[in-house]
Subunit: 414 residues, 2 copies
């Protein structure tokens, strides 16, 4: 069975907003063994929406709509679905009552247009929405001689996901052929996508029953494996096998087989060993600290550190001798090492990380180009320093600098 | 004229990836007065892709494809477009030559499948791609008695945007009816979307010729105005008028009428006045520093600061007296004030910001719930402190804390 997701709303046709509801819906549908084959995004036009619904019903078994269930004139999903199915709508007394109740509680007068949300397409089941005014609708019908399932969901992400989980998942599970899906992933850092693909494709291509997706995000390459089998044990055995063979091939660049982020991997290892970390960041300006503290419970191992953007701060907050900066420049291996060592001493952490570099677009000199970054790691015994020549814009240089810093520490902890 | 954007690639049908190419394309098309009415996202299936191309050619004047121009068997956009137009393809000798040249330079053997990228749809103009191997194609044709323009663009964002700018923009400009578009925006912070809408709708609804979009992103509400008129002066006059009336209505919560971010506004004002800033961050862990240093040239006003995640760091790096922490707790107004004052003194900055709070999900006590955050701002004369009770998850609490900190400083600088 295949699905189409239709996202309704003119804001998604502006330069400012993409449809993200489809990501959560896709993850859920995949769990049932349903692939999403099409996504359509369109605005609040009844004719266009009706035509799009017809196209979707011809090419997909399950059609999910997100959005267009609100109280305004622009909310036309109900009308379009009724039109394409050639049925009417009935205003539902119990929905009206719950709408009135909702407004009463908030002390707001209900307006006539709100009652529109009580319109139920003939033949539809109402899906109560605990988090908003617009209920969803579920339709199991025959369209041009084929059995089709239509699901109307509200656009706000929290309402949509809760409604899917509470109301839709069980209904779909009852009608889609039962399969068991296992998933697994490998996360790798600071390695080119082309290298990962060249080395792992000969392996994963031996598993035609496993769907393999390679994704490249900033400074990270992920392999996702998915397999559907009559039993979960069979599916899991297959994804585990291809995962483990690819992991073996890629070796050290794999930082997680459990879908952990680089910062999670580093923090968990530090916590296991009772070790602590502090950072002194120049060009990353707090990015590494921000990444580490985005992890719940990071306070167990991450002490803090210094943002040493100005040169005087490198001395004042991380004890870099002014003469080191004067002699080698703020962007130098010597300063990176001094930052790592200085912040470690100052905070009494087990590890100190120092980062200094030229994130660009300005700041380059004849000998020091944009993208030159030094990342140093100090422990009680020694200090190690990476010299990086990163390409790309300011954001990319900074992100990769933080990524290399995490990978340097991870390697050290291995 | 209306456009449809078809994004081709199975990765965009997974739970991991959305189409973002359409955002840049939409911004460019809007500048020409062309609205995007439909977006379709689908995978690498020739029949599905051919059908989708047919649907698009029926409902849109301009159809832009992104992706599916690579060298693999899965890259089928050329084949699908040729099929729907009922024409053939010719392998282009000059493209083959430039492909061979490209591979020679990189010292790689060219493989047979790469030559596929030299296939040109009959009647198409080749759009050379300076940044990759897959050239684009431009087709001006008649489909079912209507004039249609098809644009085939490579999927990698940098190749796509460069190719659009260099090759497509001028071709579209020559064929779309000439209009002049003016845009303007208002950016507001720490105000609910519903309040912005309630207060500005009575104004912008008086401008039916101006398309107004309200967007809510984390801690920020944006109003975007767009107007198309026979002359640019007329269009600009209209968007300026509605922008200025809405700005007047919203008052102080508007932080930019020039599409600047909160961090840009604060840094520019500091730079104008020759003032400096330092931060001491506990629960935000570097996020505020990271936001400030994401702005090019921030080193002029932002000195740096301390990430004081552990209590001992609050004392060691920002001189918060241990007894203040002991007496009031790390999450307290007293500690926020001491952080702001301490980091200011330590760094000799004009302003010091201190942030301490409970980002969650753990860490709450009976009297201090998740979301309780103190943000303090100190200058030479006085220290001001905000008490925030933020809702939402860890990421949201941290982001809003940094947003309130920027807004507190901005208000002070007004």
């Amino acid at each position: 069975m295949i699905a189409e997701i239709i996202a309704v709303g003119s804001e998604m046709l502006t330069p400012y907003r993409v449809d993200t509801n489809s990501l959560a819906l896709t993850a859920e549908l995949n769990k049932l063994g349903v692939a999403v084959a099409f996504k359509t995004i369109l605005g609040d036009d009844l004719q266009q929406l009706t035509d799009a619904a017809r196209i979707a019903l011809r090419r997909a078994d399950i059609v999910l709509f997100s959005g267009g269930l609100g109280p305004t004139e622009d909310d036309l999903t109900r009308e379009a679905v009724a039109a394409v199915l050639g049925v009417g709508m009935t205003r539902d007394a119990s929905i009206i009552e719950s709408l009135r109740e909702r407004f009463r509680k908030r002390g707001i007068e209900i307006r006539e247009n709100n009652l529109k949300q009580a319109d139920v397409i003939d033949g539809a089941e109402v899906l109560p929405n605990a988090n908003g005014t617009a209920p969803g609708q579920w339709i199991d019908t025959t369209f041009e001689d084929k059995r089709r399932f239509l699901v109307l969901l509200p656009g706000p992400p929290k309402e949509l996901t809760a409604l899917y989980t509470d109301q839709v998942e069980q209904r779909l599970r009852a009608v889609v052929p039962q399969v068991h899906i296992a998933i697994a992933s490998l996360r790798m850092a600071v390695v080119p996508e082309s290298e990962v693909d060249a080395r792992t494709a000969p392996i994963y291509q031996q598993y035609p029953d496993v769907q393999t997706t390679i994704l490249s995000t900033q400074g990270e390459i992920q392999l996702h494996f998915q397999c559907s089998k009559p039993t979960l044990a069979e599916a899991e055995a297959r994804v585990r096998e291809v995962q483990s063979r690819c992991a073996q091939e890629m070796g050290d660049v794999v930082f997680s087989e459990n879908d952990e982020s680089p910062e999670e991997v580093v923090l968990h290892t530090l916590a296991e060993r009772g070790l602590t970390l502090a950072v002194a960041e120049s060009c990353t300006g707090g990015l590494l600290g921000q990444r580490l503290t985005s992890v719940t419970g990071s306070s167990g191992s991450f002490l803090g550190g210094a943002i040493v953007y100005a040169n005087a701060m490198k001395t004042a907050l991380a004890d870099v001798p002014a003469e080191t900066i004067h002699e080698h420049g703020a962007v130098s291996e010597e300063v990176a090492r001094a930052l790592a060592e200085g912040i470690r001493r100052r905070t009494t952490a087990a590890y100190g990380i120092g980062i200094t570099g030229i994130a660009g677009p300005g700041g380059a000199t004849e000998t020091k180009p944009v993208g030159l970054v030094y990342v140093a790691l100090a422990d009680a015994e020694r200090t190690e320093c990476l010299t990086l020549n990163l390409s790309g814009d300011r954001e990319r240089v900074r992100w990769f600098a933080s990524q290399y810093a995490l990978m340097l520490l991870r390697k050290h902890l291995l």
